[in-house]
């Protein structure tokens, strides 16, 4: 964003951007083998954009890693290739071979799907490439246990997170020292809110997956969630027929697990408008959080990003 040339206070978005840049540069300077986890969603888009700014005119000095479940929306796959190319960064794609072999899918396997493709897949990829620091786009406002997570979050050699044993994080001094085998997850967007993300995308003209904008799409309503029939693998239950609805997504994941909202918002201001007037929180569209109040904390301890 253009910084004002007068000595007026920085805006909150300027400060958030500046903080994220500072964090990324610290990692680039101190980690041996960093990587940016790229999930193709709007937070990843912002994170990637900030990374480009942090190292301009150099390309960001680390690759992008997509831990793929093979069940993302088709439009996400298209965006993934384009974004990496535009940034001049290497794109690494990892699909858990065991999950692939066993045909793990969201229709038959429920929670096992997320665990094997995402949690285990991520661990495999980090181990395989020997990454010692991985950027993630998680924000503290997403969920209660995230609010207490540090910006630099340590993982044991087994990728476990210990909420009782976090390093104190003072000023902007990040301790990146670690033993062999340990790694750091780094969340440069920790202090951003959903509104900040959208405002920044708007201000900076950041390219995002079209699924965030409303369009007529084939849908099925199931268990109170609107699912999109994104490809031929979609399994219809008895009596289900795809219905065309004007929908968009507030968050993107595996298409059979991601709920859409009915919407007419086709521009960013309209999306922001809807977001501000809406009364349900962002993660409600994700099936993963619903199990129990502390479910995300559990998943994180096990190594879920």
């Amino acid at each position: 964003m253009q910084h004002s040339a007068t000595a007026t206070p920085l805006t909150h978005l300027q400060r958030l951007e500046s903080e994220a840049i500072h964090i990324m540069r610290e990692v680039a300077a101190e980690a041996e083998n960093p990587v940016m986890l790229y999930s193709v969603g709007k937070d990843s888009a912002v994170m990637l954009h900030v990374a480009k700014k942090a190292f301009f005119p150099s390309p960001p000095p680390f690759p992008l890693l997509h831990v793929d479940t093979t069940w993302k929306f088709q439009e996400m796959y298209r965006m993934r290739e384009k974004a990496a190319k535009d940034a001049g960064m290497e794109l690494l794609i990892h699909q858990n071979p065991e999950a692939k072999e066993r045909g793990i899918n969201p229709f038959d396997h429920g929670a096992v799907h997320t665990d094997m493709w995402k949690t285990q897949g991520l661990k495999q990829a980090l181990d395989h490439y020997g990454f010692d620091a991985a950027f993630g786009g998680a924000r503290r406002d997403e969920e209660k246990s995230r609010a207490k997570e540090r910006i630099f979050s340590f993982r044991s050699a087994n990728h476990r997170w210990d909420p009782k044993n976090q390093r104190p994080e003072l000023w902007k001094l990040y301790n990146t020292q670690k033993a062999k085998g340990e790694s750091i997850r780094v969340f440069p967007l920790s202090n951003w809110t959903e509104l900040d993300i959208w405002q920044y995308i708007h201000l900076e003209n950041i390219d995002i997956v079209p699924l965030y904008f409303s369009a007529p799409r084939p849908t099925v309503e199931r268990d109170g969630m609107l699912l999109m029939v994104d490809d031929e693998r979609f399994r219809f239950e008895e009596g289900e027929e795809p219905v065309e609805r004007s929908i968009r997504f507030r968050t993107l994941g595996c298409y059979p697990l991601t709920g859409a909202v009915e919407s007419e918002a086709t521009t960013l201001p309209q999306i922001i408008q809807e977001m501000l007037l809406t009364t349900t929180s962002e993660r409600q569209g994700r099936a993963i959080d619903h199990d129990q109040a502390a479910s995300m904390e559990k998943k994180k301890q096990e190594g879920y990003f």
């Binding site: 920085l10 301009f56 209660k144 246990s145 909420p163 301790n175 501000l276």
Partner: protein, 646 residues
């Protein structure tokens, strides 16, 4: 349920109409919001979580589904009966929820028309000084909550002291639960008068008092009709208007710590960092520290195009007109007002680890983007955070706060913490566990001569010793001939060597054959012998060495003479106590035999006295202890007598 009664909050948070009718105007307005970070401090029952929950709730940061979860949780584990327990909104981790207390730092977000706020929520429990200092380190402002029914408690003093210690300029004293004292002005006035007296005592220059009720919503988002006698601002109004630190820092001289050198190709060399203070324009003359070389700013490079000017808080990349050395850890500063460079400091240290501070141990220090090895002296004193008393201390334990001298292994660029948090605040990292064990604040360097323009370092005895990471000692072994002095001294030296310590052993072999070969064994010669050895030992101690001497040195006076040449504590007298009969029986060199035969005159123990030490630092009974055991406890003694250990 009280939250629905208070609808005047709409005046501050009322955005729905604009959002619905003109989203573009809304976005335009909200792009210009500033940001304030603050911390809330209070003990468990002061209503802290309730206040934060209220701020989130009033700013519509709580969605309906979250509210539904909240209502369900309130009934299950809440402390407000059937009413919504706002505190549950901000208590995150499962274990904490069960305990009903917050045990870590959590960050919350809300926004009003003017500002975005980041709230650091930290616990009020005594053992969690660490968390509060952590949360306060990034805060512009602190809200000190006081329960109107309780008045100023120990915790209030503690929180205020910590907020002041960490340099928070804006303090709000929020007297909470005014609804429970019938909004009585007299109660409020008394608390504020008490607080003002306390604040003055600990050096807090100004604070903003506000009577509130987090639960009922009084004076939170708008002035309450219940407190007509109060003419100050409502809490949120105050939060919206306080000047943030980053803005205030723009007026100071330029400092930018270099994080990363940007070299995409041979033609571009940029220095990336976040500006800590001041303003930079292209064409400005800057000085790069620690080299002290000057150059001119050529460009301020960003992806959105070059900037004419950048200010404190911005992350930028600078290119310089002249090619000069500059790398991570260096500081680019205003040419005419650079920060200082030094290697010894007085600092305040907040200890944050279960394992206590080990004075003398080497830790990593991260300050700005500089990463150096440091040692810390025993604290001058520790502060009791409950009453600010200064206590004597040899170390600091978890949550201990003390003032200590700190030495870095190479000069660092710094500014006093009160002038610049980025160049005065540091963390300490354990070299083995990699844990962040402490946070600290540099106050001043111990030798002003360390300014970058005068790299005129006085190589005194302290400098010699510091370079060797040790304290000089003269370890004086005394005892009869054949008592085992040399054997033990040799073993001690081997152990010290293995520990990486620098030592030297003076004994009959290397002294009598050279320096003192003109001396015999008369009493006068014996005295001169010891005097010379004492002088040599002293010079070696000045050079920073641990000197071991193994001489009979039979007379108290000479041992005392050498002792008096050295600073207190540097002379360690070790009496190697072997009874004459035992030594004579060993008679390794056959000297006793000769003496008994009259072939040697003035032999100690036979025809010359040995004056047993009366105040030796250590007595080694060789009839009860092997030389190995003796060496071990002596090394412990040497190292343990330092104001720091290994």
């Amino acid at each position: 349920m009280t939250h629905s009664e208070n609808i005047d909050s709409e005046t501050i948070y009322k955005t729905d109409t604009l959002i619905a009718e003109d989203i573009d105007a809304y976005l335009e307005a909200h792009q210009h919001k500033t940001m304030l970070r603050f911390i809330t401090c209070g003990s468990v029952d002061d209503g802290k979580s309730t206040l934060i929950g209220r701020l989130l709730y009033d700013s519509k940061m709580i969605f309906e589904d979250q509210l539904a979860t909240l209502e369900a949780d309130s009934k299950k584990v809440g402390t407000q009966g059937q009413d919504i327990d706002f505190a549950l909104l901000v208590d995150g981790l499962a274990a904490e929820r069960e305990q009903g207390i917050t045990i870590d730092v959590a960050y919350r977000f809300f926004a009003t028309e003017k500002r975005k706020f980041i709230v650091a929520d930290t616990p009020g429990h005594e053992q969690y000084t660490r968390n509060m200092v952590t949360g306060a380190s990034t805060a512009d402002l602190a809200i000190i909550l006081i329960d109107a029914r309780q008045g100023i408690l120990t915790q209030t003093r503690r929180h205020s002291y910590l907020a002041h210690l960490i340099g928070i300029k804006h303090l709000v004293v929020a007297v909470n639960k005014m609804d429970l004292v019938d909004y009585d002005q007299a109660v409020y006035d008394q608390i504020i008068a008490d607080y003002a007296a306390f604040a003055e005592e600990i050096g807090i220059e100004a604070f903003t008092p506000i009577p509130i009720s987090g639960l009922a919503g009084d004076n939170i988002t708008s002035k309450s009709t219940h407190t007509p006698w109060y003419d100050g601002p409502a809490l949120v109004e105050h939060l919206e208007n306080v000047e943030v630190m980053a803005t205030a820092n723009q007026a100071k001289p330029l400092r930018m710590t270099v994080q990363w050198v940007n070299r995409p190709n041979l033609d571009f060399r940029g220095f990336s960092g976040q500006i800590a203070s001041g303003t930079v324009r292209s064409g400005d003359e800057v000085r790069v520290l620690p080299s002290g070389k000057t150059s001119t700013v050529k460009r301020i490079v960003t992806m959105d195009g070059d900037l004419e000017e950048a200010v404190a808080g911005q992350s930028v990349t600078l290119t310089l007109a002249e090619e000069i050395d500059c790398s991570r850890g260096d500081v680019i500063a205003a040419a005419d007002a650079p920060p200082q460079v030094a290697d010894q400091f007085e600092s305040t240290i907040v200890w944050m680890d279960e394992a206590e501070l080990l004075p003398g141990r080497s830790y990593w220090m991260k300050i700005g983007t500089q990463f150096v090895s440091v040692t810390i002296q025993s604290p001058k004193y520790q502060v009791n955070v409950n009453n600010m008393e200064q206590l004597a201390a040899k170390t600091l334990e978890l949550n201990g706060i003390g003032v200590a001298e700190i030495a870095t292994d190479r000069p660092i660029i710094f500014e006093p913490y009160e002038d610049n948090r980025d160049l005065g605040g540091f963390i300490l990292i354990d070299k083995i566990s990699n844990a962040t064990v402490a946070a600290g604040m540099l106050h001043f360097c111990l030798r002003r001569s360390q300014n970058v323009h005068w790299q005129d370092v006085d190589i005194d005895r302290a400098a010699h010793a510091l370079q060797k990471r040790q304290e000089p000692r003269v370890v004086w072994f005394t005892g009869l001939s054949g008592s085992g002095k040399s054997t033990i001294a040799n073993m001690v030296e081997k152990r010290l060597h293995a520990l990486g310590k620098h030592s030297f052993l003076l004994d009959g072999d290397n002294v009598r054959h050279g320096l003192n070969k003109d001396l015999g064994f008369t009493d006068a010669d014996r005295v001169e012998n010891i005097r010379r050895i004492g002088e040599v030992a002293k010079l070696m101690a000045d050079a920073g060495l641990i000197v071991l001497t193994a001489f009979i040195s039979p007379f108290r006076a000479e041992r005392q003479l050498v002792r008096s040449m050295l600073p207190e504590d540097e002379f360690i007298e070790i009496f190697v106590d072997t009874p004459l009969a035992v030594a004579e029986e060993r008679d390794v060199k056959g000297l006793y035999k000769k003496a008994r035969a009259g072939e040697l005159k003035n032999f100690t123990g036979i025809d010359s006295d040995y004056e047993t030490p009366e105040n030796a630092e250590m007595r080694i009974d060789t009839t009860k202890m092997s030389p190995e055991e003796a060496a071990e406890i002596i090394v412990d003694k040497i190292v343990g007598s330092w104001s720091y250990t290994i």
